[in-house]
Amino acid sequence: MAVTRAEVCVAACADLFAGDGEILASPMGLVPSLGARLARLTSEPDLLLSDGEAYLLTPQGEIEGWLPYRKVFDVVAHGTRHVVMGANQIDKFGNQNISAIGDHRKPSRQLLGFRGAPGNTANHKTSYWIPRHSKRVLVDAVDVVSGVGYDKHAGPFHHIHRVVTNLAVFDFDTPDRRMRLVSVHPDVDIQEVSDQTGFELPEYEEPSITRDPTEQELELIRTVLDPGGKRDREVRV
């Protein structure tokens, strides 16, 4: 069976946690969750993962700890966490919006709210997952800054790691900390990536192709983590 785009995205999300060690992985959304669990089953066995409510669970689904919301805020402030958030908008410096579209005083569309995005980005490693890469999401400037980007001052622990979309992987490792193409997914044209991005991407050398999952990873994704194939519903090709 051929490797699907969703499976490439899951492996790219697993790679977000490379080297993270014994910290809390907090993936929002299905593909980042599969990625975090895949990383724990392969290269990052010491990652901690919650059930999305108040328990820390082992890979076998057993409760290994208690993490109600109040303790999550302790972990945030302690910094031992890597969150992968979604974004209604994200801009070239990595500012993210999940609060509102339009004027904050009277938005054209009210979204979730700031949630924990300001605290996450001020305190620990943060990555983003964009299942539908488009100019509506990757914008020149966000309407409301929920997650803080590299052109603002969010204190000594601010660190935006990467952005994974259904088309490509980005980082911010340029001198002026702008979003930069790291790799395009197999069968994606670079022109398509820039056409679907609402800001100019920095000049790139030949970017690499996002790696395929290994045989072992494919086996885990298909038989252990997501046998029902829900991943294909989150990623549009």
Binding site: E53, A54, Y55, W66, P68, Y69, R70, F73, V76, A77, S99, A100, H104, R105, K106, P107, S108, R109, Q110, L111, L112, G113, F114, R115, G116, A117, P118, G119, T121, A122, N123, V144, V145, S146, G147, V148, K152, H153, A154, G155, P156, F157, H158
Partner: protein, 273 residues
């Protein structure tokens, strides 16, 4: 020891227009919905609501009870956005203080500790600062680090729902998460706790006894009183009913469920099922 038992209507009678009301729970989880419904039955208006928002905010928004909302998010958990809150933000005139979730906790803690503010990193560089221009930063006197000075979130009233309470105000949560209900009580002048069941003695670990009687002024027995939010282990969220709420025409929802008081509500829900 005092017997603090009250009815929902008696609780609401102690509230007045313009008060700042903190509502416990989280999103669509263990919300004091029977007390919220009692507010809907009253002429109360111009409330400032302080909440980790769920359908409590949606109901009060739809009924025109909110002048100002202090929040970090409003969500129904399994339904991403509460439609009534969205409508009020997009079409109405709602004054908001929108915060990071951790800042919200920090503000409650500051109020509970009788401090004017507490320092926190959350908020730095974000539009929390731009959209709340009254917020200030402070420099550490030790190493000069700049931090947000989160002001105390003082509450006139806290409304909480717990699994069990005794008549004196000691109260217990039996689900996996206490949320921030103790902090809401510490931050408030008057504290009202509804519960699934009033008991004489508590069962379960002492760590589940979240509220003691110093923190509570009134106890209300409201079985199924968190409906349609979750109140585990007594009951999970009523997903079907929440969906009905989220997709309903407001006027017909009111006619069908919200005109007969709490008893009428619970009967209408049973009949609907």
């Amino acid at each position: 020891m005092r017997d603090k038992r009250m009815t929902p209507a008696e609780v609401v009678a102690e509230l007045s227009d313009g008060m700042t009301v903190g509502i416990g729970g989280w999103g669509s989880r263990r919300k004091p919905m029977a007390l919220v419904r009692a507010i809907l039955d009253s002429p109360l208006k111009n409330l400032t609501i302080v909440s980790y928002g769920g359908p409590d905010v949606g109901l009060l928004a739809a009924a025109g009870k909110i002048r100002k909302l202090v929040f970090g998010f409003v969500s129904l958990d399994t339904v991403a956005y509460d439609p009534y809150f969205q409508k009020l933000r997009q079409e109405g005139d709602l004054d908001v203080t929108e915060l990071d979730e951790g800042m919200f906790q920090c503000g409650l803690l500051a109020a509970g500790h009788r401090l004017p503010f507490l320092p926190i990193r959350a908020g730095l560089g974000s539009d929390v600062m731009r959209t709340n221009p009254e917020l200030r930063t402070i420099r550490s006197p030790y190493d000069g680090e700049e931090l947000v000075a989160m002001p105390a979130l003082h509450l006139d009233v806290a409304l909480i729902h717990m699994n069990r309470a005794d008549r004196h105000g000691n109260a217990q949560y039996l689900g996996p998460d206490p949320y921030f209900d103790d902090l809401f009580c510490l931050a408030a002048k008057r504290r009202y706790v509804s519960c699934e069941q009033v008991v004489d003695t508590f069962e379960g670990p002492v760590q589940t006894l979240l509220l003691n009687r110093m923190m509570v002024d009134g106890v209300v027995e409201t079985p199924n009183g968190a409906h349609f939010t979750s109140c585990v282990p007594d009951y999970p969220r009523d997903e079907q009913f929440q969906k009905l709420y989220a997709e309903a025409n407001w006027d017909s929802f009111v006619d069908r469920f919200l005109t007969g008081g709490e008893r009428g509500y619970q009967e209408a829900v049973r009949a609907w099922r």
